[in-house]
Symmetry: C2
């Protein structure tokens, strides 16, 4: 038993030894995803798909609560349509996949596989928006998109990835700005309430914003290794695309006006964030709200009469409160423990002959391995509370880590010292000049993660050029 | 009011005048879908997307009840992988979209956008199937696929379409055959129980079966115009792909064996079947189980005090039993009636000042326009029953139509006479020779829809060559 357990655990590289390998080990061994024969594309396996479906359902109901509707647009964009907005095409054209032939026939116009769908949405909006009564339009799409990436890693950067993309049109700039902020908050709430991941909310610098946007808002999460992972973005476009696509509506005053636009997206990248925020050397740790399995029942001494029956009856009884399954395979309990730890199941329930006699069971938390003996009379009420404890435990641990790995730098030498030796976020003041941003990248290897909404003054001058500072920026290395 | 109503209704071409135009009118005016600027691709609008989501959720839970798991594979297939199985590539290569460039670089090997994913699944199964303990593998994928169609029509035939594709692997041929039949029955049950569409179950002829399959089972529905619509298919592959892809497992007797395979799919085509089975000259008629809105509340005399409040309170009260909304727009009731009839909402609830006084409301069924006065005390209990009545009404009407439009032919002249003059299904005996099948297509313009599971003898000889008949075939024109 102990041997088996050890063997499973040994098969993951430890986080400290090689973080990148630890990550890949978890992806593969928890069976979230595997590589495919298609360059840069992964296969998301049933366990990963179930996780994505829970993420999707949770986010989708948050979107719908604000009146958003889903829509399904084509996966192809004709080259001329992609070129309609200048900044946008410059940003995306170098990294799209081009379809040039349909069957045996060469196409008159190339089609790209969508890297994002602003152009398709705008083309459609031009058809259906005529009056202020048609606004706002609050559309969202769940789909996959393709970007021709040079180096790829499962979930973090793949040629094809899954996401949702919201695209909305509004009567006024104010309403569009409100929407941009609202959806960033939806993402932040989702990360904190459902994924137990604390995030930093802020605005991207000009250099880092989305191609074609006037402003990009972001939520940034800190991974175990101190690197940042951009976990969701929300863009404000003004009326730039509307002008490029000729989208006009008759306003309340009967004049023709251009609507104001937003888009916002969250992708399967967030699964990478879950792994690198909560995982440990035993494997994945699933946040309870989206865990495909919230509780696994491991019967002990299954050869003894009544044990499997009791486990199965318990499972049926608990189905209404948690996502539960029984592991009745013929593996040893130790092997099962290691297996479900690897897969990050938040709670394990052990039940054996003596437990049955005593009308109790043992619950073990995945996050801290804490064991509790619970009466079978109370188990149904206790489980939701225990899941909440796991969620809170994960969140607090992640928050404490982020706090302990967030530093401030007043001078360039302080900043370089931190960047070289202390993985994490660095708060430092910035004059607003892109030249300084570029210099920090070149000299310290860090990029601006965001200009946080919550501003405070670390010093009075730009950490780079020493001119008067305009704002606080959070810097770091990023995935 | 009456005028408005008339105007809306007049704007659809009548079914008898031009069935194809009637169909397109409904698709566009009920806002299910619209054309896009991308050749052969449609935009599925929010109302159509909500319908597809309900179809998806319903089917998905039926799949999961049999232990199927969802998975997400890449959208691209390298050319060499597509070519691995000979019959399969011959069937699909002429109609795929080819990606030849990624960004600015020309690809060493072309990728096609998946037209179906047997090859990708087999490639993956070769990696993960090693022992009989790994079987069965019961995977399903929800995605879109691309086939380069020459002529397209919304939902019925589009270059890109949405579907699910199940791909399973089994230890024995018998188990795979069982799965093939099981999934056909799942489709048939879904059509009948959730879509109120009666379907004919049967096997495709050699000529009509799926590229690479040993047997293809099908469900065929009859549209309003007597044409058939193939609504779902389930394929048995034997071990052909397994051999081509080198998928082998250690059997119970420790010998290396090839597993047996199935695949099965249902697509957004089924939305075409809903339209053409239940629709009428007033528009769409949604089967209650998948209707995005099952009940629309139309307040009457909204300027009178208390009416809007009563409608809104009623809506809140009914949310737990039906998908309901209030139409509180400033359009006239007549306009609203026509609008929601167009969209096929199964039940309409009218409530005005006098109804409020009498503690009642008026319910109108979409399918037969039957009006019932229902006490507000009973409405919550009555609604599910009324929805069931609509479902049953739709199903019975469709079944009666199919029965009345199903004919038998014993001779070629009888068959030609029917094919020329009587839209519908023709039952006729067949010798099993493909030459006869081809001749019927050439001479009478009909194809074999299926060899129905329920066989009976219409005559003793083949309707075409007069040689002894092997089986009963249902023939017809098809979408």
């Amino acid at each position: 038993m102990a041997n088996n357990n050890k063997k499973m655990v040994e098969s993951i590289t430890s986080m400290d030894e090689d973080f990148a390998k630890w990550y890949t080990d978890i992806v593969l061994k928890a069976e979230l995803a595997c590589y495919s024969d298609v360059r840069g594309c992964m296969i998301i396996r049933p366990y990963g798909t179930a996780l994505w479906e829970n993420i999707r359902n949770d986010l989708d109901s948050r979107f719908k609560a604000f009146g958003h509707e889903n829509i399904m647009l084509p996966m192809f964009i004709p080259e001329s349509l992609l070129q309609r907005e200048k900044d946008h095409v410059e940003g995306f054209a170098p990294e799209v996949a081009w379809v040039t032939h349909g069957g045996e026939e060469k196409l008159a116009e190339r089609l790209c596989v969508r890297p994002t769908s602003e152009t398709l949405f705008c083309d459609h909006y031009a058809e259906i928006i005529h009056s202020y009564r048609d606004l706002p339009k609050l559309y969202n799409q769940w789909c996959s998109v393709v970007r021709w990436e040079k180096t790829t890693r499962p979930f973090l950067r793949t040629t094809e990835f899954f996401w949702q993309e919201g695209h909305t049109m509004h009567e006024t700039a104010d309403e569009a700005m409100e929407e941009t902020e609202r959806m960033l908050n939806v993402y932040a709430d989702f990360c904190e309430q459902s994924l137990a991941i604390p995030v930093l909310k802020g605005r991207k610098t000009e250099k880092e914003k989305f191609a074609g946007a006037l402003a990009t808002y972001t939520i940034e999460a800190m991974m175990h290794d101190g690197k940042a992972l951009q976990s969701g973005t929300s863009h404000y476009f003004g009326d730039g695309f509307a002008r490029a696509f000729g989208i006009q509506f008759a306003g309340r005053d009967n004049t023709l006006q251009y609507p104001f636009q937003t888009s916002w997206g969250m992708s399967t990248r967030i699964i990478g964030a879950i792994i690198m925020t909560h995982g440990d050397d035993n494997g994945l740790v699933m946040p309870p709200a989206v865990a495909p399995v919230q509780l696994v029942i491991v019967p002990i001494a299954t050869h003894k009469p009544g044990v499997l029956e009791a486990a199965s009856a318990l499972c049926d009884n608990l189905k209404s409160v948690v996502r539960v399954c029984v592991d009745d395979s013929d593996n040893s309990p130790g092997w099962k423990f290691a297996e479900h730890e690897m897969k990050g199941v938040p709670l394990r329930l052990e039940i054996g002959p003596r437990d049955i006699q005593n009308n109790q069971c043992v619950i073990v938390r995945r996050d801290n391995r804490e064991k509790t003996i619970v009466s079978l009379n109370e188990i149904k009420e206790k489980l939701p509370l225990l899941l909440k404890d796991v969620h809170d435990g994960l969140y607090q641990k992640a928050l404490a880590r982020r706090n302990s790995m967030t530093y401030t730098a007043k001078t360039m030498s302080e900043l370089k010292e931190l960047a070289d030796n202390k993985p994490g976020f660095i708060k430092a003041m910035w004059c607003g000049d892109e030249a300084c941003e570029t210099e920090l990248k070149e000299k310290a290897g860090i990029t601006s993660r965001c200009i946080p909404f919550e501003q405070h003054e670390v010093s009075q001058n730009c950490v780079c050029c020493n001119k008067p500072a305009k704002e606080l920026v959070v810097w770091g290395k990023a995935y």
